[in-house]
């Protein structure tokens, strides 16, 4: 349980910092070109708690999936899970692109960022979360 909580907290902190760097700094100008698709800065700040809750829920579910089916595989299993989940997310972005007027450029940048992000999330979880070892009698 201790390792589960540690993995959750470490991956959550990474996601928070990464999300800010990628969306708030690197892609800031790209988002600015499509302001009509996003809330105003003031509105976003008033709903900021939903970002924190959303990231927490996402990471909690990730660690639970890892702990349920991939624990014991270490860093590589974590990275593989992160990559597979992000590839599924790229499918979701394709579906979103088909129904919402996002530019293709934004979908591509989001997908590249997501692949890096989820690989690192997986590596963090894989390094920290290990199933409790059985002691020989």
């Amino acid at each position: 349980m201790k390792r589960f909580i540690l993995a959750f907290v470490a991956a959550y902190l990474f996601m928070f910092v990464w999300g800010w760097l990628l969306n708030g700094v690197v892609l800031k100008d790209v988002y600015a070109q499509w302001q009509n698709l996003f809330r105003s800065r003031e509105e976003m700040m008033s709903l900021f708690h939903w970002i924190l809750i959303g990231q927490a829920l996402l990471i909690l579910a990730f660690v639970m999936i890892y702990a349920s089916g991939f624990a014991g595989g270490g860093v590589m299993a974590g990275i593989k899970l992160g990559l597979m989940l992000e590839l599924a997310a790229i499918g979701m972005r394709m579906a979103i692109y088909a129904v919402q007027p996002f530019p293709g450029q934004m979908i591509v940048y989001g997908s590249i960022g997501g692949l890096i992000e989820m690989s690192i999330v997986g590596a963090i979880v894989g390094v920290i979360y290990r199933p409790s070892a059985t002691t020989p009698t």
């Binding site: 999300g19 969306n23 009509n36 698709l37 996003f38 809330r39 509105e43 976003m44 709903l47 900021f48 939903w50 970002i51 809750i53 959303g54 990231q55 927490a56 829920l57 996402l58 990471i59 909690l60 579910a61 990730f62 639970m64 999936i65 349920s68 089916g69 991939f70 593989k80 899970l81 597979m84 989940l85 590839l87 599924a88 997310a89 790229i90 499918g91 979701m92 972005r93 394709m94 579906a95 979103i96 692109y97 088909a98 129904v99 919402q100 007027p101």
Partner: protein
Amino acid sequence: MNSKKFFIAFIATFVFIFIFGFLWYGKLMSDAHMAVPALFRPEADFKANFLILVLGQIVIAFFFTLIFVRGFGSGGGVAGGFRYGLLLGLLVCGANLIRYAVEPLTTTILLGWCVGQVIEFAASGVIVGAIYRPPSTTA
């Protein structure tokens, strides 16, 4: 990995996601989506991109099935599939909460998407778990 069972599970999941998506997001949530027309493509534009939607659903179904088989396939069964699908639905719901904070989505859309995705993936998990069963051991 049992390739035949994997392929059948993947196709069944895709068919379910396609039908569920049409009914839940396309029909049931149609009015909620119409409330913010600026956030959605016009009908003609959507039809022109329909193939991308279908390809996206194929990608989702493929990796959803692959993760189950890689992580739970040796003993997941229906219960394991349901649990995995539920967790994936919650993961996607977390992503939607983030989207709600940055995109001008209504709370009705957020709620509809979250509930829909939890049902969609939990049911997909049941389908995959029922089809991709570990070989039964004979005494």
